[in-house]
């Protein structure tokens, strides 16, 4: 009797063929580990990338470690059955360091217990390199702008000093005592301004080494609120914070973020102080929007007119009275935010107020200074095979 090939058998064949193609040809490394973290199966791409895997554990092959990784994601998946995604640093054949994105998928065995985990990893070293190059380019551009701004500030001061010298020289030539006094005052003031300008610029250029730790984003916001509460009260301005009860921690330089928020709040208070509205407010807020951590400082002060909006991030640009503003506050803020891979933006309406916004995409935040492992990105568990 001739065997009749059923539809189900054909489907099964196709599925097997597809699985085989996936296993042998997919351009990513796939391995299966058991509960002792031993690799029990691996595809050819894995062997090509990481070398011999027989009778070896995942931490040994991926990272060259003799013991399980600290904060082992596989252990967590064995415990809770969640699918995980994580960026890791490993070592491929030839000892070259590599960035890879690994997905961990639990396999359910007899009795509903997780017996194995499939680890699927993609080499993202090229992407990481491009990201780093982009960040470096942004930093270099910021340095270039700063140098141009320094030259601008120095040239203006030199012109003032030239003026003082002209007044002195022509005062001597004409025997004009009042011109001598004016010239001497100009020189004294410009020398003092030059000294303070250079000091501030050096502070700005030197900066400080960022200490990146896992930080509750609400914490620097609360600290800045507390720092400015008395000043605001004295000026008759209400300052408050609008913070969600819980917001995921982020790898940031807390002191740097504190400086940024303090600069923005100080500007917001100034904008309110010169407004003649009876009730003036400054609000600090934090929020999480589609993988981006957002800080905002809003005020209902005088707002910013078009001309000033255009050059608000120009170096050493200040609208404040001489001696009050250095023109470095927003520049410093932008520098710190850029070091965190973030951006600064603002909306402003003349006469109505301004909102300054610091946005930090979480996947661009810096790596921690201390040995803190990154947080897992969790997905719901996959159905049992």
């Amino acid at each position: 009797m001739q065997a009749v090939e059923s539809e189900a058998m054909v489907t099964e064949d196709i599925r097997n063929w597809m699985h085989a193609r996936l296993w042998y040809q997919v351009p990513m490394s796939i391995s299966v580990i058991d509960r002792d973290y031993k690799i029990v199966e691996a595809n050819p791409h894995f062997a090509r990338s990481y070398g011999d895997w027989q009778d070896r554990s995942c931490h040994e092959v991926y990272k060259g470690l003799s013991q399980r990784c600290a904060n082992c994601a596989a252990a967590k998946t064995f415990a809770d059955g969640l699918v995980r995604e994580r960026e890791e640093l490993g070592v491929i054949r030839g000892g070259k360091q590599t960035h890879y994105l690994v997905h961990m998928i639990p396999l359910i065995g007899e009795g509903g217990r997780i017996s194995h985990i499939v680890e699927m990893s993609t080499d993202i070293t090229g992407v990481k390199l491009l990201e780093q190059e982009k960040l470096d380019a942004e930093r270099l551009a910021a340095v270039g702008q700063t140098v141009a701004g320094l030259a601008h500030g120095v040239k203006n001061l030199l012109m003032g000093i030239d003026g003082g010298m002209y007044m002195l020289q022509s005062g001597i030539e004409r025997g004009d005592a009042s011109r001598l006094v004016d010239g001497w005052e100009m020189l004294k003031e410009d020398m003092a301004r030059m000294t303070s300008f250079v000091k501030e610029f050096l502070e700005f250029a030197k900066g400080r080494t960022p200490e990146v730790r896992s930080v509750d984003p609400n914490q620097p916001a609360r600290e800045v609120l507390s720092l400015f509460r008395d000043t605001a009260k004295l000026k008759g301005i209400e300052i408050r914070a609008n913070l969600p009860k819980s917001i995921p921690k982020a790898f940031m330089d807390k002191e740097g973020i504190h400086t940024c928020l303090a600069n923005l709040v100080s500007n917001a208070l100034d904008a309110c102080e010169v407004s003649d509205k009876p009730h003036r407010n400054v609000v600090i807020s934090t929020d999480e929007r589609e993988g981006t951590l957002v800080f905002e400082v809003a005020d209902d002060g005088v707002g910013i007119d078009y001309e000033i909006r255009k050059k608000i991030f120009a170096n050493f640009f200040s609208t404040k009275a001489t001696g009050k503003g250095t023109g470095l506050g927003l520049l410093t803020t932008r520098k710190i935010v850029q070091e965190h891979g973030g951006t600064v933006s603002f909306d402003s309406t003349e006469g109505a107020g301004s909102v300054f916004r610091l946005e930090f995409p979480r996947d661009r935040l810096p790596r921690p200074t201390e040995d803190e492992a990154p947080k897992d990105k969790k997905s719901p568990p996959s159905p049992a095979p």
Partner: protein
């Protein structure tokens, strides 16, 4: 040697730095010119309209209204567009070449480029020679 200029031509010194204004006004007065001053573009336009000035010494970076906007407004005003302008600025980033900046300042409103461009700190003799040439 600085030469005095005969006649009493009126020059507007437009700069937000008080010391620069004092310097340029004193230098110009010492060389036979009459001067008025303003510290931003808006105030500058008011002075141009009320004082009938013969020449403007113009700074670029100023609060409230910049020198760029002042320049475009002046050159767009048919009654005053012939008033020569000497730009005196610390704006950098053009490698010392003033041409790209002159083009930038004049393109938006299709106005002619400024008559002269000097970089801060100025050379006194070059400044006075430029003024004398433009007012001759």
């Amino acid at each position: 040697m600085i030469q005095s200029q005969p006649g009493k031509k009126k020059i507007l010194v437009l700069d937000d730095e008080p010391h620069v204004v004092t310097y340029l006004q004193t230098l110009l007065q010492d060389n036979g010119y009459e001067t008025v001053s303003a510290s931003n573009g808006k105030e500058g336009m008011e002075k141009v309209r009320s004082e009938e000035v013969d020449l403007v010494c113009l700074d670029i970076s100023m609060p409230e209204e910049s020198g760029v906007r002042f320049y475009r407004n002046l050159k767009d005003d048919s009654r005053r567009s012939a008033t020569p302008v000497v730009i005196i600025t610390a704006v950098t980033g053009y490698g010392g070449d003033s041409e790209p900046f002159k083009q930038f300042i004049s393109t938006r409103k299709q106005v002619p480029p400024p008559e002269a461009f000097l970089s801060k700190p100025i050379d006194k003799q070059e400044f006075l020679d430029t003024i004398a040439r433009l007012l001759s």
